[in-house]
């Protein structure tokens, strides 16, 4: 039971909240308890102040600064909630709950770790790269403006792809993996079409892959059964629904059934 201690909704101080690039912000929060416990791939719930916006906005742990007790989050403005967050100033507070979910296994022994991030799936890769031991090849894809690239370079070789070719390889991350025939233990986070591509790539070359999934959430801690995803099972239906917030968000690629499968 103590695995869920200290996770109730708490008020955290905002240390800074800065624009990184077009529509992308980095928020640093002071929350030593969360930082001490959090693992890469886990997330926190952020709550809006606007009383009409009740549900949590799940945001991944981007980086942990244990010395200072600082939690770094990177978020994109997608709708009204994230737009509201972008107006918050340093010194103000925000309601946070976490860390939530199961993160990546960072004890995997592999000759090469293949880190694959797409868009706002890139932020969790920072802390993951920091904690993974061994050689890391990092491939990150963006529609246009890349970000976090320099921070990731501290931990391994970084390759950038953009849809419009404005930076790095023109195309998506899966096309890049194919082109360079990169092999290793895969850790991926990004939009579903990218994850489907990564799953197929891992399957084709028989690689281990951990995928971090996204789904709309009602609670973020396992109570509403709202955030489910199809997981292969040997029952009559061939699948069961598991909770992304509690059983994931990181799943083994072999067990995830995307709706196109």
């Amino acid at each position: 039971m103590c695995e869920t201690m200290n996770k109730s909704r708490t008020v955290c101080k905002i240390i800074s909240n800065e624009l990184l690039t077009d529509q992308i912000f980095e928020m640093i929060l002071e929350c030593p308890e969360i930082v001490n416990e959090a693992k890469p791939g886990q997330f926190v719930n952020l709550y809006c102040r606007h009383l009409g916006r009740l549900l949590p906005r799940p945001i991944s742990v981007c980086e942990l600064n244990k010395d200072k007790g600082h939690l770094h989050l990177i978020y994109a403005i997608m709708g009204n909630g994230t737009k509201e967050f972008s107006t918050y100033n340093a010194g103000e507070t925000i309601d946070v709950m976490g860390p939530l979910g199961n993160g990546y296994n960072t004890d995997t022994v592999s000759d090469i770790h293949l880190i694959v991030g797409g868009g706002v799936g890139t932020p969790p890769m920072v802390e993951l790269c920091k904690q993974l031991k061994g050689r890391k090849i990092i491939v990150v894809g963006f529609r246009d403006n890349p970000y976090l690239v320099n921070r990731l370079k501290e931990y391994g070789e970084v390759y950038v792809t953009t849809d419009d070719g404005s930076a790095g390889f023109k195309g998506n991350v899966v096309e890049f993996l194919e082109k360079k025939s990169l092999k290793g233990s895969i850790y991926a986070c990004g939009p579903t079409p990218m994850l489907i591509g990564v799953q197929a790539y891992a399957d084709k070359y028989n690689l281990d892959a951990s995928l971090s999934l996204e789904e709309r959430m009602g609670c973020g801690f396992g109570a509403c059964v709202g955030c489910v995803t199809k997981i292969a099972s040997n029952n009559d239906a061939g699948f069961i629904y598991k909770k992304v917030c509690k059983d994931g968000p990181v799943f083994n690629a072999k067990e995830v059934l995307f709706s196109c499968n």
């Binding site: 009740l54 549900l55 009602g218 801690f221 059964v225 709202g226 239906a237």
Partner: protein, 300 residues
Amino acid sequence: MQLNVNIAGIEFKNPIMTASGTFGSGRDFTSYVDLNKLGCVVVKGVANKAWPGNPPPRIVETYGGMINAVGLQNPGIDAFCKEDIPFLKQYDTKIAVNIAGKSIEDYVEVAQRLVSEDIDLLELNISCPNVKEGGVAFGVNPSMAEKITKAVKKVANQPLIVKLSPNVTDITEIARAAENGGADALSLINTLIGTKIDIHRQKFILSTKQGGLSGPAVKPVAVRMVYQVANAVKLPVIGMGGIMTGEDVIEFMMAGASAVAVGTANLLNPAATMNILNEVKAFLSDKSIDNINDIVGIVA
């Protein structure tokens, strides 16, 4: 200060219950909530066998509320009895089992299976849209509501709460039908049918197109219906729909509820029931009200 209330012969230490489907069987809440402090835990709907539930997306936020289309995903009554009843029995609270089904036989089977289990109450969820009998939900047709209440009451070993749907023209008609069928208490409201459209993609957000609206947005409707039902039947009424604070609890009780259930608020803050209980106590002591039962239906 007296907080205990009596529902159908079962004594709760206070009127705060959990609303079905928003608290699981309490396992995910033990770090935030002392289950011993709850009047009653109402568990997530359970059917005669496991139901997979609906495909995602199942949840969407709307102004001051949320719409869910979980579709009663549950492990079935056998798994429930094996895992969840022993878990809840560790705590000093009452247990109400919420029953889901697609036909009268389904509901009866679950009530029968629970005859010898150590639980306190049954709650019949008759606002489930997928039913065999003519495709009409039991909860929106008075004669069906009476028929199913009777059938379950016949086999049930625990007092029976019938949970009413707000998606009807006249909720008092269904309330009287459940009373005639032999219900021991009524609970209301279940969720209001609603939907949300993604205007950028020009499609419904939920996989099922529509779902059930809950949260503070529905509270005025719920309070009105509790008031109507409490005045239409002799049975005790359990009020719910958008309770976020102790003041909301007081409002429902003044409208005629003998107990209340906290739903969506649990999802937004897992410690909600504890905060709400403290706020209720503070209100009563502030107004020098010694017995919470004294405010039930006071505005009638």
